[in-house]
């Protein structure tokens, strides 16, 4: 009896493993197929593979609208990432360290942009600027992206901030440091992993954003995702597969690189720490 039960448990575990493997395959198969197809020599964007070729990457490099959209998205994402991180860190600092009326309401309000569908946020802002008769501008698009990224940055930095004990800051203050320098010298360095993580996430959120950008972009401006969308309306060409592969390299490569740098940084620091103690 006991043996049979054990056997059952083993089968359940195997089933769990099998489903897990299937889910991972499900998540990555389409992406792998796209990367493979980007090297296809065939004129059509699909299987079978007729040979290896880099021609679609060459075509892509000469495609001016795509390059323009890429530059636009890159700038928007960089600005969004920088501003959102600054705002987010300051907000988390206030939410974690201070007690003030309406704090609970504010911390709920801050994560709302992540929960309200982008279509609603998109329409809302458009209706507002139509009501006050303002045009759609680049500034509006960037501020919109900041709104979409802010919840994630606040959540990430907040989680880290909770773990930093305030006595460190207060010690610096009691030794005569100003508010600002105690924040810069004590809090910020301890917060760095969350700052880098938040900045990277904000970058990807902005670089990726599709639905809201469709509403908010100024007339004639294409971001990378909206450019892809309008290209897909015509047909799925091998060029799009190449474009997808380049985008994957950029958006996966940057965070991975950031993570590696961060890891080696903390490792370096750890190596330094014992020395300081010995002194």
């Amino acid at each position: 009896m006991k043996a049979r039960r054990k056997e059952e448990g083993r089968w359940a575990w195997r089933l769990t493993g099998l489903v897990t493997v299937c889910v991972y395959i499900f998540m990555f198969a389409p992406i792998v197929a796209t990367v493979i197809l980007s090297f296809n020599a065939s004129m059509f964007g699909g299987f079978p593979m007729t040979g290896f070729s880099l021609q679609w990457y060459g075509k892509l490099m000469a495609n001016e609208p795509v390059l323009a959209a890429f530059r636009t998205s890159l700038w928007i994402a960089l600005v969004t990432s920088a501003v959102t991180t600054a705002i987010g860190v300051v907000t988390s600092f206030a939410l974690v360290r201070f007690e003030f009326r309406g704090k609970q309401a504010l911390s709920t309000l801050v994560i709302l942009p992540a929960l309200v569908p982008e279509t609603i946020l998109g329409v809302g802002l458009l209706v507002l600027i139509k009501a006050v008769d303002q045009p759609r501008t680049m500034l509006l698009l960037v501020l919109g992206h900041i709104l979409l990224a802010v919840p994630y940055v606040v959540l990430i930095t907040q989680a880290r901030m909770v773990g930093i004990r305030r006595v460190y800051e207060e010690a610096a203050l009691s030794l005569g440091a100003s508010r600002f320098s105690s924040f810069r010298e004590i809090t910020l360095p301890l917060l760095i992993p969350a700052v880098v993580g938040g900045a990277l996430l904000a970058f990807t959120i902005s670089f990726d954003n599709t639905s809201a950008s469709l509403f908010w972009r100024p007339a004639g401006v294409e971001t990378m995702p909206t450019q892809i969308l309008s290209m897909l309306k015509i047909s799925i060409s091998p060029e799009i597969n190449a474009l997808g592969t380049v985008m994957i390299l950029v958006t996966v490569g940057i965070p991975l690189l950031g993570g590696l740098i961060l890891q080696s940084l903390t490792r370096l620091k750890r190596r330094d720490e014992p020395k300081e103690e010995a002194r």
């Binding site: 489903v19 389409p30 299987f47 007690e99 003030f100 609603i120 994630y152």
Partner: protein
């Protein structure tokens, strides 16, 4: 009278949160408020409306079964997607949590990688799998199992599949976070009291992981029901969801009052589900799931 600043002065806190507060007011609260007002404006012709108040938009929405049909279909697709996510997402989350595999972080990293890949690219990449020249059709044709490509794209199934693809990581991470919070000694205790592993799972692990599962279900449902890109890329015209209806009403028909009405309806309906959820579960689980 001037009060001296104290160490954790509320006034300083307000100063620090001012940027975020202004952003939220002007880009979230005010837009939704103005949109709510717009639902009572009168539509004249494409792109033109007057501020003469009317209930015509709400009347049209409530009486025309076209809109109700759209809403019901959207909720149905959202619910199916969320449930499939729950079922398919629980296994990997449990596996990652329970495995003794040394490189567990790799499995978690692989779950986060899709978040970094452009959503548009992840969605259109399904065309390379399901399309007439996709992996499945080409392979089946080569093997001689079928003589005509199967029409797998541009239907509701493809839309649900695409949404499943982008929502599964949310679900898995939510359940995983909640599993990680379980005190493992409870399970050992259950086992030592004579529970089989299945009983221990049913009586201890599963109930304790329900908050994460519920948060994941809500998140997947809301994101699926509010989606625009996936039905656009993987569905036919008949598979359009409420988000597409809103986009078309505003961007093509330029009927702003009706577009505002539809947006407010979606906001209220999804808000209703979120409110039910927070009534029972609170916000903390969602916060944990989003923040990773």
């Amino acid at each position: 009278m001037k009060r001296r600043w104290t160490l954790y002065d509320p006034r300083l806190a307000w100063l620090l949160v001012a940027p975020v507060l202004l952003l939220l007011i002007f880009f979230l609260v005010l837009p939704i408020a103005v949109m709510a007002a717009y639902t009572f404006f009168t539509f004249v012709t494409a792109g033109v409306e007057t501020s003469a108040l009317t209930t015509a938009n709400w009347h049209e929405f409530l009486t025309d079964s076209y809109y109700a049909g759209f809403l019901l279909k959207t909720l149905r697709v959202g619910a199916i997607t969320a449930l499939l996510c729950g079922v398919l997402g629980y296994f990997p989350a449990y596996f990652i949590w329970a495995t003794t595999f040394k490189h567990k972080w790799l499995l978690l990293l692989l779950l986060i990688v899709p978040f970094w890949i452009s959503f548009t690219i992840r969605t259109f990449s399904w065309i390379n799998i399901l399309g007439e020249q996709g992996v499945i059709n080409v392979a089946l044709l080569k093997l001689g199992i079928i003589s005509e490509p199967l029409p797998m794209l541009y239907n509701e199934g493809a839309v649900i599949l695409g949404m499943l693809h982008f929502l599964l990581p949310y679900m898995i991470l939510n359940v995983y976070v909640s599993l990680e919070g379980i005190d493992r000694t409870l399970i050992s205790a259950a086992r030592s009291m004579g529970c089989t592993s299945a009983q221990a799972f049913r009586e201890v692990t599963l109930p304790l992981s329900l908050p994460g599962l519920a948060a994941g279900l809500l998140l997947c449902f809301v994101l699926a029901a509010g989606s625009y890109v996936t039905p656009q890329l993987l569905g036919s015209g008949r598979d359009a969801l409420f988000g597409n209806l809103i986009y078309d009403t505003i961007m093509s028909e330029l009927n702003w009052p009706m577009g505002a009405t539809l947006s407010i309806v979606l906001f209220l309906v999804l808000g209703f589900f979120a409110a039910i959820y927070t009534r029972f579960m609170g916000m903390s689980q969602i916060v944990k799931g989003l923040g990773g």
